[in-house]
Subunit: 341 residues, 2 copies
């Protein structure tokens, strides 16, 4: 199934970090786009006027029926990415029940050919603690977070739908850690807040409600370096190891979703999306400091060292997916345009 | 973790087809048993008085917290086994959300060693249409029914709980088709009604709400042989193939759960439970007819031939699980005691 004049793509989460870029990619190819937008979404006004908007959330069965009607492709991006213990309920409701509601709408619509792409995550492996690296698509699926298990269940619901719906093909894409350049330096940005700023990490640990020794000792050590200028944070393990991971620009994720959605090789297939190299925070944080003219503090925090290295080789080989933007490009872009206040 | 003086086993679904027999097996070994019993369960009065009963259903968080407190073993049997399209909601609510609620209670209780056994099903493979037979535990998990996907999600929730809860070990047991001798000849019995009686199959097809050609043609052919004496049904495919499957007595399932629950080999392991041979309905239905002194009709029905042959070899080898009762034993027992009215 290739993109053609009759292609009509539904994107859930169309106003989101990836959906907005995917919309641009599809519109640039003259593909008709429909988007599911939650009521009162503040980003709705930024949706391109040529997009057909269906207003509703993933628990609105009527909206879902309307959204899935007469589309040839569905990209299910809508999800919450959360890691605090008290957010488990919301994760379940949106990522599991929401996905199930969407799948039910797909199963109940009049049959017509469908390509169904589910946005999953390296957290199904699980992300930072894989059995081996580079972690390819054959790695056992053993999530350790509520978010990770929600994505694994979403994958199973997607596969199941493709089995029971005639002429339905699935594609599952597992994203590595990804960022928008607008958020990467933002002291209140997704990920940046808790990863790159002392105050953000402190607030995040306090909000977790966790009282284990790793958490309380981390809070103690961070308080010792906390200061009014909210320094950048370079956290190391007790043995001095920095965080090393992949960071992929959401624009590259969105560009990769186009062949994943239309190329026949991707039918009933699973792909990791990841750049071909990892970055160490010992490089990233000082680079940020220089870009922002801001000091950073090195803090040893207890806990197991994360060792993330997702292999994107299969998607590169089959679909030509690659990372055009490095984390350093993103930092340059953010500091140049003032996205760090 | 072996059964010892401090073993205390929670059984969900304790009044059910398997739970009631498992209770007897455990009490006979002097193991303390706690049972979760839904409010107004008509079978509650049949629970042995030495069982500690916790009243509540799988959507009652308070009851679940009470139920999981201070137990060393949990056997999660409570589930609905349903196959009609209009029952998908109930399957999701009980089997998926109910299991998730139980797992949440387990994750939130004060940590102490736990063995967690989840009752799954051959429907995860899927049951009647496997890629190969005998179907062992390595077969891809590709359910095609709402019930099957609910059990697969239950397995994943179980594994996840064992990963995130300290000192928690899981065992997953996938049951083949199983029967109680009391229900096997019952014209309104689970499975027997639609499998062995013309009127039962007709009612089941009509209740399905399905309007596809296989269903409507099946209804037409069954109506042609329907009669006031409600004859037994021997259904064949259009090419004359009978249904061939495993049938295991729930007493044998329950007996097998004891080593699955206590033997160290079964920790973090998965087992099929199945007898070492299948039976053909060309043998079963005439045997029933003779036992009941009742006529049977042979009806060719459209649809793909089911080809079920679950391998129970691993459970036999590791745990000594075996079938003591054949389907013919069950029929004898039912007809002798009048369980067919």
């Amino acid at each position: 199934m290739m993109a053609n004049d009759r292609s009509r793509v539904l994107i859930t989460g169309i106003t989101g970090r990836i959906g907005s870029h995917l919309t641009s990619e599809l519109l640039a190819r003259d593909v008709a786009v429909r988007g599911l937008v939650i009521p009162n979404d503040p980003l709705r006004s930024e949706v391109d006027p040529s997009v057909e908007v269906v207003e509703g959330s993933l628990d609105d069965a009527v909206a879902l029926d309307v959204a899935v009607a007469n589309v040839s492709h569905i990209v299910h991006l809508a999800a919450v990415i959360l890691y605090q213990p008290h957010q488990d309920e919301l994760i379940w409701r949106v990522n599991v029940e929401g996905t199930r509601n969407l799948m039910r709408a797909i199963q109940q619509r009049p049959p017509s050919p469908l390509r169904l792409l589910f946005a999953s995550s390296d957290q199904v492996y699980p992300g930072p603690f894989p059995q081996y690296t580079p972690t390819d698509e054959e790695h056992p699926l053993e999530p350790t977070t509520a978010y990770g298990i929600s994505k694994l269940i979403g994958e199973e619901l997607t596969r199941h739908t493709a089995r029971v719906v005639p002429n339905c093909r699935f594609t599952i894409v597992r994203f590595c850690h990804n960022q928008t350049w607008q958020e990467i330096l933002d002291p209140h940005g997704f990920f940046a807040e808790r990863q790159f700023y002392v105050k953000g990490r402190l607030a995040w640990l306090l909000d977790s409600g966790r009282t284990d020794s790793v958490t309380t000792e981390s809070i103690r050590r961070l308080r010792a370096v906390d200061a009014d200028d909210n320094p950048l944070l370079l956290s190391l393990t007790d043995t001095g190891e920095p965080l090393v991971l992949e960071m992929m620009d959401t624009r590259d994720i969105a560009a990769g979703l186009v062949p994943a959605l239309f190329r026949p090789e991707a039918e009933d297939n699973v792909y990791n999306f990841a750049p071909d190299s990892t970055v160490s925070f010992t490089e990233v944080v000082p680079y940020m400091g220089r870009a922002l003219d801001k000091r950073w503090v090195e803090v040893k925090l207890p806990g197991a060292p994360a060792r993330s290295n997702l292999s994107g080789a299969k998607a590169m080989r089959d679909l030509g997916v690659r990372a055009r933007y490095s984390v350093f490009n993103m930092i340059d872009e953010a500091s140049r345009t003032g996205h760090h206040r």
